[in-house]
Amino acid sequence: MKNKKLLTKLSLLFIFLFACNLFWVDSLSASGISADAGLTPAANRWIFKTQFRLMQRDNHPTMNQEMTMQMYPVVIAYGLKSNIALMVRQAFVEKEMTMMGKTTNSSGFGDLLFMAKYRLVRVNKPTYTFGIAPTIGIELPTGNDAFSSNGYDLRFGTYFSGRRRRLSMDVNMLYIVNGIKKESDVSTEIGNEFSMVSALGYQISMGSDGNFSFTPVIESSYLKTWHDTNNGINLVNTGESLFLLSPGFKITKSSIIFESLFQIPVWQEQNGLQTERTSSFLIGIRIMN
């Protein structure tokens, strides 16, 4: 019930932000930072993207537990045709876990992700641009045990992109169907995930030849992970919902984009006893040919 009310409020917020984008007199250009929210790149164009993400989870009042995770994802995207883009992502992860005063460290590669994006709609007008691009992806269980879902995960997403002069808004919706994890002959169905990220930004042009810009960005993210299940029974202490607000910025210089974001959880609800998400930090760079 509480979730339903929140979802209604969030939906209204997104509609409001979207309406602002469409009717703003003089504004928009941003693109997502924490999530890829762009449309397909030009044909034959390569994009290399890498980030450093610092994520922390703090102890629940009744638990003496915390976790720090550092992630280094690398994404390579290619514009196969003007309306089809292919992407591959590989992340390296470092994790530090403290439980009851005892700290353990682990590190390794995450699962390999392949994604394809199809530009369904793109309207370019003198005063605005609008586009929709659905995506489909598969995550292979290639990662180290600690960072792998140990199953084939499917991803279905849709990207909405709107620009009105210097103002931009991107909305990215993604649903992940997680696979089955097998540990010591026990099969656990990992809970599916849903995320909705919207990014709103205002592009400030710097320099005389229009090839350098600074863009303050504000992102809002709703993330939901369903319960893990075993033989159809929900497992306790799994599944969560959270809402993040993230101020950040992008610096674009011709074919290089430097970006940074600070994610602040403003609302979260974990099932059972679980650590809570604290603020996260992200810094990244994109290079395009």
Binding site: S29, S31, N44, R45, Y72, P126, T129, S254, I256, M288
Partner: protein, 111 residues
């Protein structure tokens, strides 16, 4: 080994940041360097570019049109400047097709 990967990663990130910052201080390519008796300048209206990052993909595709010597896009002015070799026939349609491949929409030819 993992520490090495981390150091290399942060090193690459810092290097590109420095390069991009140095690059910010310098100007873009000036088409006047390509102008002579045989090369002619054309200017097209173009819609859909929304940041300086769009220029590269478009300029790459335009440069693949036979007869194009150089090009420069400007997202703010919504314009594309193309220097063509007048000895080789380059039609507007060839330019429009390249613009479409870059996911943008061509407007009028202004010059």
């Amino acid at each position: 080994m993992y520490k090495k990967i981390k150091i290399i990663f942060i090193g690459i990130l810092s290097l590109f940041l420095i390069i991009s910052m140095i690059g910010c201080a310098s100007g873009g390519n000036d088409l006047s360097a390509f102008m002579n008796d045989t090369n002619k300048l054309r200017v097209y209206e173009i819609f859909g570019m929304d940041c300086p990052g769009c220029h590269g993909g478009l300029e790459n595709l335009i440069s693949m049109v036979p007869g194009v010597v150089a090009s420069k896009a400007n997202w703010e002015k919504q314009q594309l400047q193309v220097v063509v070799d007048s000895k080789i026939e380059v039609t507007d349609q060839q330019i429009f097709d390249a613009i479409k491949e870059a996911n943008f929409t061509a407007g009028k030819r202004l010059k």
